[in-house]
């Protein structure tokens, strides 16, 4: 497949691995945080960590929108479906995420709620259009989630609904912004901050907001950041670029993923987002708490299509599973295998936290691809 296979070439991977080994100084550690869950997934799926020198470690960040969505928002969506009888449409990623009282969208659906999986906001609009013909009273709510990558399609849906005067469609907006989350992690209180030497910056988020959106990392936090593509060779090349910067004491913003990312990003998509969505004063992130200006809500001009206003529900704040260490995992403070529940009671078949549900969550990645390597890692860790 063009623009994919070239970046999975194993001979080139070995060359890059050798280059990293040659450049990484044996007398220091390199802790590189990958912000995106897509990177976490690629690192595990292709065994990139195994090709790295011992003293270079990938630290997994919070960059999976499913993993950072607090339980209360899923509770709210389920309540919309059950209390108001709306048809709830959402992306498949959300279906199995644990909600309060051992609920999930999938279980609510099995219990009779009208919850449907869609691939695109276009599908959700089509369901609403069809409903206006068959059951005009039926309301369709699109449960929108995702970082800046997934936000523009929601903006298009809002525009389309307004243009068509589609009154039985609305959006439950849960879109969150990556720069405030990265800022929060990098300015965590001193005793809690994960030691990070460099950052692999978001790939597809950056196609929309542009690489320049991450200039603050070098400027305010003194850390090098490389916008990195999702394929294994992209990750390796980016790691090499970070190692070089660290060795030279540089702290620059570099763009490895220039085939898809420009400094200014997709300005058309940005304009659509600005027209339909505005920043929320604050929003709760699982693992990071309440962060100011870190999420979007529907603009006043589109209030008629705002499910939160149209279908208010009261939910008691959901309580996460007591032993779940997702918050620490998401901030790079703990490895999934350090969680007492990992693999014992928590697995992808029976996930207790969101990090185990999403294939981009660190816990699921460890479980699916990293199990064979875990004893080794523990052994080497205890030996030092």
């Amino acid at each position: 497949m063009k623009f994919v296979d070239e970046y999975r070439d194993s001979a080139l991977a070995r060359d890059l691995a050798r280059a990293i080994l040659a450049e990484a100084r044996p007398d220091r550690d390199y802790r590189l945080m990958e912000f995106c869950g897509g990177h976490t997934h690629a690192i595990f799926r292709y065994g990139v960590q195994d090709l790295m020198p011992e003293n270079l470690r990938f630290v997994h960040g919070p960059g999976c929108p499913v993993c950072v969505l607090p339980m209360a928002r899923i509770d709210q969506a389920i309540a919309m479906a059950s209390q108001h009888g709306v048809t709830l449409c959402t992306y498949g990623d959300l279906m199995r995420v644990p909600a309060s009282e051992r609920q999930s969208l999938l279980k609510a659906k099995a219990a009779g709620a009208d919850i449907r999986m869609v691939y695109s906001t276009q599908d959700a609009l089509a369901i609403a259009r069809a409903a206006t013909q068959q059951q005009p009273a039926q309301q369709v709510v699109f449960f929108a989630i995702g970082f800046e990558t997934t936000t523009p399609p929601t903006a298009v849906a809002l525009k389309t609904a307004r243009a068509e005067g589609l009154r039985n469609f609305s959006v439950f907006c849960n879109h969150v912004l990556t720069p405030p989350a990265l800022r929060a992690i990098l300015s965590d209180s001193a005793d809690e901050v994960a030691r990070i030497d460099g950052i692999l910056g978001p790939s597809h988020v950056s196609t929309i907001i542009g690489s320049a959106a991450y200039e603050f990392v070098a400027r305010d936090h003194g850390l090098p950041l490389v916008i990195a593509g999702f394929e294994p060779l992209d990750v390796m090349q980016s790691a090499l670029m970070l190692v070089r910067q660290i060795n030279q004491g540089r702290r620059d913003l570099q763009n490895q993923y220039s085939r898809a990312v420009s400094p200014e990003g997709n300005t058309k998509a940005q304009a659509l987002m600005r027209d339909t969505l505005v920043p929320r004063e604050r929003f709760e992130w699982r693992g990071l708490g309440w962060l100011p200006e870190s999420a979007l809500k529907i603009a006043d001009a589109y209030a008629d299509w705002d499910a939160e206003q149209r279908f208010p529900v009261a939910v008691t704040p959901g309580r996460e599973h007591e032993g779940c260490e997702c918050p620490k995992v998401l901030r790079g403070l703990m490895e999934p295998t350090d969680c007492k529940l990992f693999g014992r009671v928590c697995s992808p078949e029976n996930p207790l936290g969101a990090c185990m549900v999403s294939s981009e969550g660190a816990c699921a990645a460890y479980w699916l691809h990293g199990r064979s390597r875990i004893p080794q890692r523990t052994a080497s860790a205890s030996a030092t």
Binding site: A19, E23, T149, S258, R259
Partner: protein
Amino acid sequence: MCLAIPAQVLSIDSATDQACVSLDGVRKEISLALVDGVEVGDYVLVHVGYALNRISPEEAEETLRLMRALGALDADAAQGASQSAPDQQPQPTQAGAAE
């Protein structure tokens, strides 16, 4: 969740702003609402049914060229170092890294 996949544009319906793309051989209808000026034959990144951006073939080629250069250069340098090769060996690495 943020995964986007490269696909080649096979045809465009400008009336609906939709395109038919080939995703590794599979045909799919996607929306072009987020990108202007897409032409048949272009590669776009597809995410949840939308083209997010065009992929630049020139930049893609340049990235691969850099990767090969990095890999080859450092493999040489590593080998050269162990054999105490001539002084000029590591220099390109230095120059490349200092850009």
